[in-house]
Amino acid sequence: MRGALSILAIAAVLVCAATFVAAQDDTERAVERYRQMLKEDPWSNPGLLDADRGETLWKTKRGPKNASLDQCDLGKGPGRVDGAFAELPRYFSDAGRVMDLEARLVWCMEKLQGRDRAEIVERPYSKANQAGSELEALATYVAHKSNGLKFAPRLEHAKEREALAVGEALFFRRQGPMDFSCSTCHAESGRRIRLQGLPFLGKPEEARKVVGEWPAYRISQGTVMTMQHRITDCFWQMRLPLIDYGSDVAIALTMYLVNQAKGGEITAPQIKR
């Protein structure tokens, strides 16, 4: 009797363990199923609500200059949104610096609408279950307008090549109380933190799969998350201070990631766990 009981107990433990592992696999599978459904019916993607809101914000007159963002130059000429995201970050001669999408949006809001930078970047990232912030909605809208295109960083201007070199050096730079660099977690295939899978961003095949997913709609958060937010969260985990919005480090790292993902398809806003 006791033998039978212990066999039962062992079996129960094994079933629990198997269920747990299966549950994790199920989560991955469910996300994959969700993605498959979105391929069949792209309009059911909740991230598109933010893209829509972004489009409305883009066309709404705001700020002291009562202007919309219609004349914002994202690199392909004033008002040209289609395909602009695929060539960002890039050098902007009017600003005299390399900018990614998010830094450029702030620039346009300042210059065209006459708005105060501090006010624009005060709360760039929404919290769980909130609607995306203005910047998140705008970034989702612009990125979505390159959906289906492939990343094609220009790297023609010396400053663009410099941003790439700085981004690569930053990717391998170890710092902080934990001695972490980006490469501590993203330099091998098939690794995890706890149960969270990690992309090997040094490998173009893997970078191409994930970089074009951002801005992404996160199911667990119920909101969209931009690339700058993603990078900020990595730095938070690395025990580094809060990085300024639209800063050179985030732009240089984005340039490195986009260059690693060169030729990879833009699927933003993709669905993430």
Partner: protein, 208 residues
């Protein structure tokens, strides 16, 4: 004849110097650009927090050589880091494995949302290592430590190795990925001893 060979040698030397200069100058330019970008990007952080972005010698060397330093540099790292290890005053390298288990599970501490501290810093071992076989949520960035102590017959020398490895992994492996939990002051000597017990005690679930 002598003059022509002198000229040839001088020309070769000049070319080599030029090449070296070009190579070196480019390298230092990028390093300067990186530092400038960092200064500008964390301009609003407090000086205390900005200090976290300043690299020490080991971080600098490991970044530069992408964690594969040449032998002379590696030897210098090993010696420098080994010298930072401090041992418990009572020489007991094993503490309480139950406290160690809590520390191994906890990823708390050091993030900008963790201040003022609401708990003690954790070791976050499970982020990267497998330990207790019943804990299925473990990372795979680092080797599995399943039955680590048992497999090493709980030897004293192995206990010391584990203590030192947690305190400062660069003392054994130059440019190791793991944080220097003791040398950085992130964990205390007592906390490290508790973690050693979690890995090395026969009573610990890690060895069951």
């Amino acid at each position: 004849m002598r003059i022509t060979s002198l000229i040839a040698v001088a020309a070769a030397a000049a070319l080599a110097l030029l090449g070296w200069h070009l190579l070196f100058a480019q390298g230092t330019d990028i390093a300067a650009d990186v530092e400038r970008a960092i200064k500008a990007s964390w301009a609003r952080a407090t000086p205390e927090w900005q200090a976290r972005l300043v690299q020490d010698e080991t971080q600098k060397a490991c970044s530069h050589y992408r964690n594969v330093p040449p032998k002379a540099i590696a030897d210098a790292i090993l010696a420098r880091e080994k010298a930072t290890i401090k041992y418990p005053p009572d020489s007991k390298l094993m503490g309480d494995w139950k406290k160690g288990e809590k520390l191994a599970q906890s990823g708390y501490g050091g993030r900008f949302t963790d201040y003022p501290p609401r708990a003690e810093n954790g070791g976050n071992c499970y982020a990267c290592h497998q330990l207790d076989k019943t804990e299925l949520s473990f990372g795979t960035l680092a080797p599995s430590l399943l039955e680590y102590g048992k497999n090493r017959r709980y030897k004293d020398a192995e206990i010391k190795t584990v203590y030192e490895r947690i305190y400062n992994p660069h003392a054994a492996i130059a440019c190791a990925s793991m944080p220097r939990m003791g040398s950085s002051g992130f964990l205390t000597i007592e906390q490290i001893a508790d973690l050693v017990a979690y890995v090395m005690s026969p009573e610990s679930p890690v060895n069951k």
